[in-house]
């Protein structure tokens, strides 16, 4: 392949594939992430439970999903788990989103567990001594404080998930990397499509990083509202 003879026209010809790829990648990331936070919340709290029948399933779940490669999980879910449960595939998007969600949930569980554990015991005790049942104390007192400490690691997790979503390309999901693979296969040229894919991912991670930095700033330091800035201001402010 001649290094100097760069043909980005072939990217242009397939631009729709790339545009769809960006949407699929974003969709998988967002669904996997939001689902992963909800799942992680339950798993994380489960790992804090004193009841063994809650604790152990949560622990083994987290250990399994953190102990095996995401790629294996994607293949298992797409080719074995979903067909076994539903009798047929539900398509790459469902499989991909499910695998990312289940995986992300395991990582988020550890973040959420650590965040909850980082809140001083006195906060729970104060809440309980005011007569709050533990669920009420968790929801109103512990989680709002713990959430702040979770923001930075949850931000990292989002970036990681964005990049990991590229693995769904192995189950023929029409994500961003898949677009690159199709072009590479069609023209037997590799620099242009993969560099394009890399740049598009870089742009996505850049945007995500900026958003996360904003959110982190918003939730840093002080709880005093006057010291906080608004992230997005619409109209006059």
């Amino acid at each position: 392949m001649d290094f100097l003879d760069i043909r980005f026209d072939m990217i242009w010809n397939y631009k729709e594939l790339f545009i769809r790829g960006i949407w699929v990648t974003l969709g998988l990331t967002v669904i996997g992430y939001l689902g992963g936070i909800i799942l992680g919340l339950f798993l994380g709290m489960g790992k804090l439970s004193k009841r063994k029948w809650i604790y152990y399933p949560c622990k083994y779940y987290v250990d399994f999903f953190r102990g095996t490669p995401l790629l294996v999980q994607i293949l298992l879910i797409h080719l074995a788990v979903i067909p076994s449960i539903f009798g047929h595939s539900l398509g790459y998007f469902v499989s991909g989103a499910t695998a990312l969600l289940l995986n992300c949930g395991a990582y988020n569980a550890e973040i959420i567990r650590a965040g909850i554990q980082s809140i001083e015991k006195g906060q729970t005790e104060a809440a309980r001594s005011l007569g709050m049942p533990s669920g009420v104390a968790m929801k109103n007192i512990i989680l709002p404080q713990a959430f702040r400490r979770m923001v930075p690691p949850l931000g990292n997790e989002l970036i990681a998930l964005l990049k990991d979503s590229s693995l769904v390309t192995v189950i023929a999901a029409n994500d961003l990397l898949y677009a690159g693979k199709v072009v590479a296969g069609a023209y037997s040229r590799f620099w242009e499509p993969y560099i394009t894919v890399a740049i598009l991912y870089l742009m996505l991670t850049f945007v995500f990083t900026k958003v996360i930095a904003y959110v982190e700033k918003r939730f840093s330091n002080s709880y005093v509202p006057s010291q906080r800035r608004r992230i997005f201001t619409f109209g006059r402010s």
Partner: protein, 240 residues
């Protein structure tokens, strides 16, 4: 009002409370003194079940606290607690710190809860701090908010665990003054304290604890001036 029978508490192998019997009557001010590690905090925390009770029983208003049939959250509504480290909720302003449990637990409507909070803040001398956040307050102010927060549940009993020992000396008085006012209003109180002045002045009874046991109890005069117990005398000679 509070009845404690044969209270034992162990942390693993370590026996911290070794059989305590006591009865607190309505409107009494009980001051608990004793050396560090003697189990004073543990004693207080067993009363509202912040620590599981290993053996024995605690009754509040005739209800057994450590009974699986008892709804501990119901009992805790009647028992306010104030901690050494204040334990205000840092993510809520003073008003919300005070109103959160009336709203969530007593299902008070927000307007009513706010009015109650404003009254309580006036009582503790912090009417102007309703919108402040804990991090904007001094230690003494935080502790007074903590007292107001506990009062917002309209408890019949208040437990204090060394409420002034995390405070700079110039802030101790403002907190003790609030506690005195509460005492005058007839609140039943159990106060673990190192402030012997407060115990002498306000205590109806003084309990001296050592090594997990209730060594001596009596009026402040009996304990501080006329004790014949060697351990009590040794302790008092150190702290007075």
């Amino acid at each position: 009002m509070i009845k404690i029978e044969g209270l034992h508490k162990s942390f693993g192998q370590l026996e911290v409370l070794k059989g305590i019997d006591y009865e607190v009557k309505e409107k009494e001010i009980i001051c608990v003194i004793g050396p560090s590690g003697s189990g004073k905090s543990t004693f207080l925390r067993c009363i509202n079940l912040l620590e599981d009770i290993t053996d024995g029983a605690v009754f509040i208003n005739g209800l057994k606290v450590n009974d699986s049939g008892t709804n501990i959250n119901e009992i805790r509504k009647d028992v306010g607690m104030v901690f050494q480290q204040f334990n205000l909720f840092p993510h809520m302003n003073v008003l919300n710190n005070i109103t959160i449990s009336p709203r969530k637990i007593r299902k008070m409507n927000p307007k009513e809860a706010e009015q109650l909070a404003v009254e309580l803040l006036e009582k503790v001398g912090l009417a102007d701090k309703a919108k402040s956040f804990p991090e904007q307050l001094s230690g003494g102010q935080m502790q007074r908010v903590a007292i107001a927060r506990a009062l917002a549940m309209q408890p019949k009993i208040m437990l204090f665990d060394e409420p002034t020992s995390a405070l700079d000396p110039e802030m101790v008085k403002e907190v003790l003054d609030v506690m005195k006012q509460l005492a005058f209003e007839g609140m039943t109180m159990v106060v673990v304290t190192h402030e012997m002045g407060f115990a002498k002045e306000m205590g109806d009874r003084v309990l001296f604890m050592d090594e997990g046991k209730l060594v001596e109890e009596g009026t402040p005069d009996a304990i501080f001036n006329n004790s014949t117990n060697e351990r009590t005398k040794a302790f008092l000679s150190m702290v007075l």
